[in-house]
């Protein structure tokens, strides 16, 4: 009996015909979930390429993940210092050109600080760090990172943060709703006071996605929450790239 799920079949040739799909995982000083994210990428059948915050070069990856953690200790504001790292210059440029970018937790905070995604993340309304399995609804299954899910599908993946309260002004929120850019919503209870129960959003083009919960911690049946609901993020990207 093996504990690991077999690699998803969606792997194989990358879009550029270089063989495996290459997914970059950025490490900032203080990033914590980079190894976990690399593991999730591998389990999905792609090649994980470590990227270092000081290098502008993205090593010809097909997609990039900004993992969770406390980059620069979350000092000043979560994501505020990392946003100015050299690697982000290239990420911003490539994201605007359509490269799939996923920001998880701290990565999401970095994406809002760069304004690739609107809004901001604030201290949870109860002021505590919170770690638990969280139920979500996938609202938008057309992004680069959600294609493996059905719109309306309910999934459970771990949530762990202290600065997870999503805020934006009413106009922005209305726009996100109207354009279907709320990608994930918290179900059952809102864990942190995020406006309109928003757990994650996407940019207009659907290639840049950010969310607070951690799909990379729900990819193996024996580990963490014991669910594999998060694997779809990493297999979605393969599907999207292969079909592109």
């Amino acid at each position: 009996m093996t504990a690991r799920p077999s690699p998803a079949t969606a792997g194989g040739d990358g879009p550029s015909g270089r063989g495996n799909t290459r997914v970059g995982v950025i490490t900032f000083p203080g990033t914590l979930d980079d190894r976990d994210t690399q593991r999730a990428v591998r389990l999905a059948g792609a090649e994980a390429v470590p990227l270092w915050h000081r290098d502008k070069d993205l090593k010809q990856v097909d997609a990039v993940v900004l993992p969770g953690g406390f980059s620069y200790g979350d000092y000043l504001r979560a994501g505020a210092i990392s946003r100015f790292s050299p690697v982000m210059e290239t990420v911003i440029e490539q994201a605007r050109a359509g490269m799939p970018v996923l920001g998880i937790c701290n990565g999401f905070q970095v994406l809002t600080e760069t304004h690739l995604l609107p809004g901001a993340m604030l201290r949870n309304n109860h002021l505590h760090f919170i770690c638990r399995d969280q139920k979500l609804r996938v609202e938008n299954a057309n992004t680069s990172w959600t294609a493996e899910y059905e719109a309306g599908q309910e999934i459970s993946i771990p949530l762990k943060n202290i600065d997870g309260r999503y805020v934006a002004d009413e106009r922005t929120l209305d726009m996100l709703e109207a354009e279907g850019r709320v990608a994930f919503r918290y179900l059952d209870t809102n864990p942190n006071g995020s406006l309109r129960d928003i757990a994650g959003i996407t940019n207009e083009a659907g290639n840049v996605v950010g969310l607070m919960p951690h799909p990379e911690h729900a990819v193996e049946p024996l580990i963490g929450s014991g669910r594999t609901d998060g694997l779809g993020f990493f297999t979605s990207i393969l599907k999207k790239l292969v079909n592109a």
Partner: protein, 81 residues
């Protein structure tokens, strides 16, 4: 060396649970008569060289792009006397 202070506060329309938690605790500690509490950040910058208009303009830019996130926060810059 001159000191410049940058105060960063959440915009009034944004919920400030830290300030609220402080305010809620006050009566329990026997402090009455505080109608509202907001909690923000204070930065003390030690500036090399003269704090002239040019320097202040630079610090204002620093506050705008870095020390504060103007999506959610307001800031003020002043020379400490």
């Amino acid at each position: 060396m001159a000191r410049v202070v940058v105060d960063v506060m959440l915009k009034p329309e944004i919920l400030d649970p830290q300030g609220q938690a402080v305010q809620r605790a006050l009566p329990r500690l026997g402090f009455e008569g505080i109608a509202d509490v907001r909690q923000g950040k204070r930065f003390e910058l030690e500036v090399e060289g003269p704090v002239d208009d040019a320097a202040l303009a630079r610090i204002r830019e620093m506050a705008e792009t870095f020390l504060a996130n103007t999506v959610i926060e307001d800031f003020t810059v002043r020379v400490d006397s």
